[in-house]
Point group: C2
């Protein structure tokens, strides 16, 4: 069964792309991040909500503040990656809904008046957007190194506020030497998909 997506694109995004643990010494520009965002911003979310927020760690001072919050096994790569980004959700995303979803501007009040409902929706849709962003990094010819091994409360306090919840920290750059493990197994189709 062949897909409509060009095989080279399949390789770039999925088959040959790997999570990098080391990075080459080549900078990642703001223009590259903007090109990634301007591509993946079109991917679908509920009510076209856009809870994802990105904090780019560019200054040495900010990186020094981030590294101690990372799990020990993630500290060296967080210290040396060309660019590090915190991906987070904005739990007050509903304020933007009348602009983002003009077909039903009441969605803000009908579905998201309560904070717990917003947090649930931001967690799901912000995670979808984080996945799109990771594939966008690959679409830019870069390797991503997403990490959830860090002190979430510490990163939130240091870089965010009560309205913003961290999802992951991502190292971004060209892969370096011995950048990845051998490919690990995946579940078979029959383990994941069933028909009723």
């Amino acid at each position: 069964m062949s897909l409509a997506l060009d095989p080279a694109a399949q390789d770039l995004l999925f088959r040959e792309a790997r999570t990098a643990n080391t990075f080459a010494d080549e900078p990642v520009s703001d223009e590259q991040i903007q090109a990634i965002y301007d591509l993946v911003k079109y991917a679908p979310t509920a009510f076209n909500q856009s809870p994802l927020r990105v904090v780019l760690i560019r200054s040495e001072e900010a990186r020094e503040r981030l590294v101690p919050h990372m799990a020990e096994g993630n500290q060296a790569k967080t210290r040396t990656a060309p660019l590090v980004a915190i991906l987070a959700t904005d739990n007050e995303f509903h304020e933007e809904l009348p602009e983002l979803f003009p077909h039903f501007p009441q969605a803000k009040d009908v579905f998201f008046a309560e904070r717990p409902a917003r947090e649930r929706s931001a967690a799901l849709n912000g995670s979808l957007q984080a996945g799109y962003f990771l594939l966008g990094i690959r679409a830019a010819g870069l390797a991503a190194g997403p990490m959830t091994g860090f002190d979430f409360a510490g990163v939130q306090k240091e870089f965010l506020d009560d309205d913003h919840t961290p999802l992951m920290v991502v190292n971004i750059g060209k892969p370096g030497e011995n950048a990845w493990y051998p490919r690990s197994p995946r579940l078979a189709y029959e383990q994941v998909v069933r028909t009723v």
Copy 2:
């Protein structure tokens, strides 16, 4: 700034792809779903975990059981889409970790011995995988219609069990007539990304 991904692939996955609300009368085969899964299974998750589960609604009887759980505005399209899939998480995904992440087989017990930790991880990583799956549907030249407007407890009770949590229901097929709204606005880069 140009991306490494071919412009036609950018259009297919992001720029021209749209969330479909109507579908053409053309079936979606198991082979297509398998090709989608066999592509997107390579996208990254924490510890290579694979909490996403997919229930394909193929029988008329199963569809009749699903439709009443959908929000009223989602019932007609759920009834008429060529194929409907429930995307869910397996909150007992940790059982597979020794096989899926052989570099650190202890992860199962060190990080995921407690159910709340598993649910948090399955929600994040299952949502990432759901996002990859939606883009995989587009990679197959099909349109996706993801929906979160349904009775989650009802769908769980009807099609899943206590260990599996619904994430979304997705209509899948070739787009039909007047399949989508005009494109809604997106947040500007400066509203989403900041640098420290």
